[in-house]
Structures are given as C-alpha cells and as structure tokens.
C-alpha cells in the first residue's frame, strides 16, 4: 500500500519526446491525407449541416409557426439549444483560462481544441436567438446605432440585451485568446510547410513570428492578462444567460439560485463535451501520448466535482420551492417531478447526478470506453436540463385555462441536428488544418526542471 502511494505520477506527455518529435507528432495529421474515418465523419457532419440549412431556410420563408410553440409555451426548443451550446463553450474557457491561472499543466494538451470547441459552440448558440427573431435579416436592430426611427434605442434594462452583449464579448475574447495562442504554432507550421497556398495562409496569420525572446516575454504577459479577463467573463456570461429566466416572474425561473446553478451546469456539460471530443481525437489522430489516461482522469474528477454541484443545485431548487410556502412554486415543483414531462426530469437527474458519481471509482475513470459513453449520457442529460427548466415552467402557468403541452416539430429537430452538423463540421475542419495541440505549450512542460523533480 505504502509503496503504491510513493510511486511518482507518470509524466503528462508519454514516450520521452524530444522537442522535434512533438512538432512532428502534432503536425503529422495536418501533413498526411485525410483518413477514411475523417472523411466519413466529415460527410455525416456536413450532411447534418445541410439538413439544418434546409430547415432554417424553410422556417425563414414560412415563419416561426413551423415550430411546435403555442401561446403558452413561447420558448422551447431553440432557447434550449441556445443555452445548451453556450454552456458547452464554457468548459473551453475553464480549461484555457481558469486552469491556466491555477497552473494546471495538464491543460496544455487539451486547451487548443477545447478553445476551438468554445468558439464553434458559441457560433451555434448565437444562431438560435437570431433564428428565433423570425425576421433574422433585421438582426442588427439589437445593436444600439443611431437610426432613422428617431434614434429609438434598445432597452438596456432588458436581460435579453445583456445577453447579446455577453455572448458577443465572449465570442470575440475567446477568438482573440485562441488566436494569440495559435500564433507561435502557426509559425512552427509555416517553417515546415512547402511553399504554396497553405504556406501563404500560415505566413499571413503567423504575423511574422520568429521566436524572439522579447516577443515571447510580452506574449506570456498578454496571455496571462487575457486569461485573467476571460475568467470573470465566463462566469458573467452564463450568469447573464440565467437572468433571461431569473428576471422574469415565472415560478421555477424566478430564483436567485440561477446564476451559480447555470454556471456550474455549463462547465459540467462543457467538460463532458470536451471528454467526448478528446477521446475521439486521441484515437483518430493518434495522440495517445499527449492525451493520456491521466488527462482523462483529471477531467473526470472535474466532471465529478461540477456534477455534484449540479446535484446540489437540483436539491436546493426543491428545498426552496417547498420552503418558500408559495403555492405557485409548489405547484411548479409538483409538475416538474410528476407532470407530463416527468420522464425528462428523471432522465436529467439520472444523467447529471447519478452518472457522474460513478467517477468516484478509479476503475471506471481508467476505462476510457466507459468514460466516453458516460460523457455522452451527461451531454444528453444537460440538454434535457435546459429543456425541463424552460418547458415545465411555461406549460403550466398561473391560469389553468391557458395550460398547454408542447412537442417539437420535425423542423425544430432538424434545426437541432443542423447545429450539431455545424459544430462537428467546424471541429473536423479545425483538426485537419490547424494544430490540435498547443505545440509550444507542450514543449514548455516537456523539460523537467530540477526544482520540479522533487516530490
């Protein structure tokens, strides 16, 4: 037992790599032709994307009446998808910014792809409110610009406007953060790519990077500051998203628990999505030495922690509803756990509360196939969480005469599938054209400095 405790942890990067080997390994998938598996995945994702485009085009021309919404349930599928996708993005920022501030070295193997995931997820999320506007071509009305309507301004007291500013800022800052991290690696690729179109593209975007110490010194400070800015930003974004609900007066929505509840839920769901993507990527891109079982173990522990927090939030919701003594809160709770969508509520509890508890066992954490399956279950559970929050509060409101049920139409389902198509298409293209692993950052943790060798 004692011997086992004294065993040093395996290094984060396996195989005793040299610096040049890291460059070769990470660049290899970009330099060979796409595998059959990649093309297969790309074709499936791209078909889903086309399906989504067709569905969105149809509903743009016909109108939002193609959805299953009614006068009672005015928000359902697309706001669920919006909150789901924006939540997925949050894990990318957690890994790239928050774990960077905590000096967690294991993040260096996965931060690049997690950040890319954030950007694509935010793009998917941003599409849904635009589609929901009905007249998407008037989207720019949400921007406060001097206009011909007497300069009628937007209402800055509305959480929906806050939301727009939060998502917009989140997208731009994530993009800058990702791109700044990419610059040294683009230069690495540039210096080993044959002249041609791709090399010109790399030359343009690598900003003339030459590895100068002066630039590196300032780069590190810039990176640290951006991480410091992104950390409160990511907390603010989902808090603001939660005010879309919490600032209303509906039972089940009107609660002060929402901001922390949404933020932990977001990070939880995003971590599950990172796990899903990483486990696929390490196999298909042959990155087993870089994304090791130890990385997966660290991620599953974070999933366990955030999943337990989500479970605590569910319990708090129940407690608050009972303790408030408010009839409507009480009725909402009864409807949630025993109403027409009770199956969804219990599915959500099973996937988000019970499934992550399995990660207490090291046997399960080490079984990567099982971790993959469980991560998908969590993704499903977190999608249902948003669906349940939104629909159960709306379908049974204050007046029984206006109660209604909701079921999605094929158009709504096609739009959801289309957003997965967009997300996966973007991610697969990213895997083929940009280094999936932060080369420079991994090189930085290869060297075992003497002060770190001590236990």
């Amino acid at each position: 037992m004692e011997e086992k405790l004294l065993q040093p942890d395996p290094p984060w990067i396996l195989g005793n790599k040299s610096l040049a080997q890291v460059t070769r390994d990470v660049c290899a998938p970009l330099e060979r032709r796409g595998s059959l598996l990649w093309w297969g995945a790309f074709l499936v994702s791209f078909s889903l994307l086309l399906l989504g485009i067709a569905a969105v085009t149809y509903q743009m021309f016909t109108g939002i009446g193609t959805w299953g919404l009614n006068r009672t349930v005015g928000w359902a599928f697309d706001i669920t998808n919006f909150v789901f996708w924006i939540g997925i993005g949050h894990a990318g920022t957690l890994i790239s910014a928050i774990l960077f501030l905590f000096r967690q070295k294991w993040r260096n193997s996965i931060n690049r792809s997690a950040e890319a995931m954030t950007i694509f997820a935010v793009i998917c999320a941003g599409l849904f409110p635009v589609i929901h506007m009905g007249r998407a071509w008037l989207f720019y009305w949400i921007i406060p610009y001097p206009n011909e309507r007497g300069s009628l301004w937007i209402n800055f007291r509305s959480p929906l406007i806050w939301d727009f500013f939060a998502i917009f800022t989140y997208f731009l800052i994530s993009l800058v953060f990702w791109y700044i991290g990419l610059v040294p690696d683009l230069a690495t690729l540039r210096d080993r790519t044959r002249p041609g179109l791709y090399r010109r593209f790399l030359g343009f975007f690598s900003l003339g990077w030459n590895g100068s110490g002066r630039t590196w010194y300032r780069y590190e400070i810039l990176y640290l500051l951006l991480a410091g800015l992104a950390t409160p930003l990511v907390v603010s974004v989902h808090s603001v998203v939660s005010t879309d609900f919490a600032a209303s007066l509906l039972p089940g929505w009107h609660t002060t628990l929402f901001p922390p509840y949404f933020v932990t839920g977001a990070i939880f769901s995003g971590l599950a999505m990172v796990l899903t993507l990483m486990l696929i990527a390490r196999k298909t891109m042959h990155l087993e030495d870089y994304i090791t079982p130890r990385h997966v173990g660290a991620m599953t522990k974070l999933v366990l922690a955030t999943g337990s927090l989500v479970g605590l939030a569910y319990l708090t919701e129940v407690f608050t509803a009972l303790y408030s003594g408010n009839t409507f809160e009480h009725a909402n709770l009864v409807n949630r756990i025993g109403g027409p969508l009770a199956w969804g509520y219990w599915l959500m509890v099973a996937c988000n509360v019970l499934v992550p508890q399995l990660f207490w066992f090291s046997r399960i954490r080490a079984n990567l196939g099982l971790v993959f399956l469980l991560s998908i279950l969590i993704n499903v559970g977190m999608w249902f969480e948003r669906f349940i929050i939104i629909v159960t509060s709306l379908e049974r409101d204050f007046l029984p005469s206006s109660w209604a049920d909701y079921a999605p139409t094929s158009i709504e389902i096609a739009t959801l599938l289309g957003s997965f198509g967009l997300f996966l298409t973007c991610f697969l293209l990213f895997c083929r054209f940009l280094p999936m692993i932060a080369i420079a950052e991994v090189k930085g943790i290869l060297v075992r400095r003497p002060e770190e060798a001590k236990p």
Binding site: G150, F168, V176, G211
Partner: protein, 176 residues
C-alpha cells in the same frame, strides 16, 4: 563595424548559461530565439517590466466609463422610456453591459497594443529568419563593437570557443 553572432543550442539551460557568459565578456546580448518561452528571458535580455498590464487597465477603464455613460445618456437623456416604473437612471441594470464592455475593450485593446509593441502584423515576413527556432533550436544573438559593448576587436574564434564551451552546436557570424 558591428558584428553579430548567432549561436545555436539544443537546450535552454545552455542558452541561458551562454547568455550569462557572453554578458560577462562584455558582449551585448541582443535577443534569444526559442520554440517556447524560456524562463529567465527578461533577466538574460535585461528587459524592464512590461507595461502591458497598465494598457489593459486603461482600456478597461475607458470601456467601463463609456458603456456607463452611453447607457445613462440613452435611457435617461436622449429618449427616456418608463420600463416597469424603474427610475430613468437605473444604474444597477446597466452593470452587466458595462462589465462586458469593460472586458471587451480591455481584451481587444490589449491584444492590439501587443501587436504594436512587438511590431507584428498580418502578412509580415519574419525578421532574422533562423532555421529551427520554431521547432527545437535555441539561438542566442550577441553583438560586439557597438558603443555600449566594451569588447574590442571581437575575434570570431574567441567567441566561438566561448559558445562551444556551452555546448553550442553552431556559431555563425552575420554582419549588419
């Protein structure tokens, strides 16, 4: 005549040691090139503390102030609208947007400042191209004969010996 020497190393420790020795010899350490950030770069190059954090603060403060002022002007002065009986200047409701604008201005302003300070821009051809520095080589650039440096008649042989003692795998001289 300014002579510049480029010494190539395989390990960052050798590079730092060589930089230290070169400085003791009175050579001017002009820059180091590496595939990842080397700890102690600022000391080796004698860089002063970066002022980027101040830029971040100034841009952030500007964004915050502008966002608060604009929301106040829109909601209380230009076209006041009664929303749920809230006061015209409903300051707490303006906090989220002001916060987001602060982060946005700070982040974008900071990134642009960095580009300007490092003289990087899209499409720039890399200055001083050296083979391998973006892959696995560490290069030290030192010069002699400049007003600040005291070494006289820098002899290439002496400098090469100095660097080879620190495990340099190549030493090259380039004139300016």
């Amino acid at each position: 005549m300014i002579q510049t020497f480029f010494a190539t190393f395989e390990r960052e420790e050798d590079l730092l040691q060589a930089a230290e020795k070169a400085r003791q010899q009175g050579l001017l350490v002009r820059d180091i090139y590496s595939p990842y950030p080397v700890h102690g770069t600022d000391r080796a190059l004698g860089l002063r503390r970066s002022r980027l954090p101040r830029a971040a603060f100034v841009f952030g403060a500007l964004g915050l102030a502008l966002a608060f002022w604009f929301q106040f002007w829109v909601s209380a002065i230009d076209w006041p609208i009664n929303v749920g009986g809230r006061p015209w200047n409903s300051l707490p409701a303006f906090v989220p947007v002001a916060f987001e604008m602060m982060v946005l201005c700070s982040g974008l302003g900071l990134a642009l400042t960095w580009l300007v300070v490092c003289r990087l821009y899209p499409g720039k051809a890399p200055a001083q191209p050296l083979t391998g520095v973006t892959d696995d080589r560490f290069v030290l650039e030192v010069s002699s004969g400049e007003p600040g440096a005291s070494a006289t008649g820098a002899d290439f042989e002496g400098i090469r010996r100095l660097f080879q003692d620190c495990n340099a795998c190549a030493v090259e001289e380039r004139g300016y």
